[in-house]
């Protein structure tokens, strides 16, 4: 099976029913997608599959053969953050950081499909993501700020 991850092509050798999450972390050593619950309940593993936010723990490799995957590593660099990453930084939207990459990927996809997302649309769009530290206020504020900022 072949995947393009953050612009780079990889041939994968994990069994076809391995989750995309496990293959990214353990075969390709791409560790921003976090293994929170392995059952789609927490959102920490969210990546972009052909531009759309998906839980990587719920996708078997066989179902994404040939797809283009974007993880947090593919969004920006420390000196060149994406607008969502920069907004999370400016609004102190991370505490322990475990949920952060999933939130940033989901918010990136949300803004892509709803460029003028309202606060209600942000809440609905991120509702499957769990943060156990911050209480969400700063996360939602960061995404609101990113909605208003140029990409």
């Amino acid at each position: 099976m072949r995947l393009t991850v953050n612009g780079e092509q990889h041939d994968l050798h994990s069994p076809p029913l391995t989750s995309l999450l496990t293959a990214l972390r353990e075969e390709l050593d791409i560790t921003s997608p976090k293994a929170g619950c392995h059952q789609g309940g927490c959102g920490a593993c969210t990546v972009l599959v052909d531009g759309e936010a998906r839980r990587s723990c719920l996708l078997p490799l066989a179902a994404v053969d040939g797809a283009a995957i974007t993880t947090l590593e593919g969004l920006g660099a420390a000196d060149d953050l994406s607008n969502v990453q920069a907004a999370f930084d400016e609004h102190y939207a991370a505490q322990c950081g475990f949920c952060t990459s999933g939130f940033i990927m989901a918010a990136t996809a949300l803004i892509d499909r709803t460029p003028k997302a309202s606060r209600e649309e942000i809440l609905a769009g991120l509702s499957g993501h769990v943060c156990r530290c911050t209480g969400y206020i700063k996360i939602v504020s960061a995404v609101e700020a990113a909605v208003g900022s140029p990409a």
């Binding site: 496990t22 789609g40 996708l59």
Partner: protein
């Protein structure tokens, strides 16, 4: 012998409906993977080690087709695509999990998923029962079409192909949820009136979606919504689970039935 590791599973990815039906055969030893939202956790945790997996995403089984007043929906259509479907199906779809899950979960998975053990699943079942949907499946003995309430009671050994229903003249919906995107619905009641009459469907009142014939029959002989809603307990098969007790559901269900009937507009 069941497989003991994921690496041993044979994965078949049919590229047409005919190929999918052929590969499914009589269903023995075949695990059908739709969107994966229910089966992947089972495999991730090692609770499921399938022998043969039928991966349906390229089998040409997705999409919504309108033909006059009726809709045909393919088994691999995502729950997200159903968000704009006629009511009460649209509302039921919008109440499933969150955006990412809805974009991956399929109609077929929702109708075929076994009861989760801890909780009943299949939020779309009540809506499709109310709509009087007919289900087309393949398996032993070839293709067959049957009412959805019969199919969800015994889906084993059948490959779901599509669901067909008539757009209703009016519809109603009432549900009790927990305030978290991922909890399954505690109870949902759907009502819809088509040219075939008024039907009432229930989710969460048994191991699978149920049709509330006692309520329908009471309404048909002139009972008020309030009187008819009490009859629902004759149809329910309540159980205790992780979401709520049978005791609680018994008290809640008649109230939700009445709300769904009132939501029809005009009541009856």
């Amino acid at each position: 012998m069941p497989a003991t590791s994921l690496a041993e599973a044979q994965v078949i990815a049919p590229t047409s409906r005919e190929e999918a039906v052929g590969a499914f055969g009589d269903g023995s030893g075949v695990t059908v993977l739709g969107g994966g939202t229910i089966l992947m956790p089972e495999m991730n945790y090692g609770r499921l080690r399938p022998e043969r997996v039928l991966l349906l995403q390229n089998a040409g089984l997705s999409g919504i087709a309108r033909n006059g007043g009726s809709l045909t929906i393919g088994a691999m259509t995502t729950v997200a695509e159903l968000e704009q479907a006629p009511e009460p199906l649209g509302t039921a779809a919008r109440n499933v999990a969150d955006h990412e899950i809805r974009a991956q979960a399929t109609l077929g998975g929702n109708l075929c998923a076994p009861s989760g053990g801890a909780t009943p699943r299949g939020d779309l079942q009540a809506a499709l029962i109310a709509l009087g949907a007919q289900v087309k499946t393949a398996g032993k003995g070839g293709e067959r079409t049957e009412p959805i309430e019969d199919f969800v009671a015994a889906p084993d050994g059948r490959l779901l192909l599509e669901v067909e229903f008539e757009e209703p003249q009016r519809s109603g919906y009432a549900a009790a949820h927990r305030p978290h995107a991922h909890a399954y619905t505690i109870l949902a009641v759907c009502a819809a009136e088509t040219t075939a009459g008024l039907r009432v469907g229930l989710s969460g009142a048994g191991r699978n979606g149920l049709r509330a014939r006692s309520v329908e029959d009471a309404l048909a002989v002139g009972a008020s919504a309030e009187e008819a809603s009490q009859k629902v307990l004759d149809d329910a098969q309540m159980q205790d689970d992780a979401l709520a007790s049978a005791w609680y559901r018994q008290r809640l269900l008649p109230i939700l039935v009445q709300r769904a009937l009132d939501d029809l507009g005009g009541g009856k």
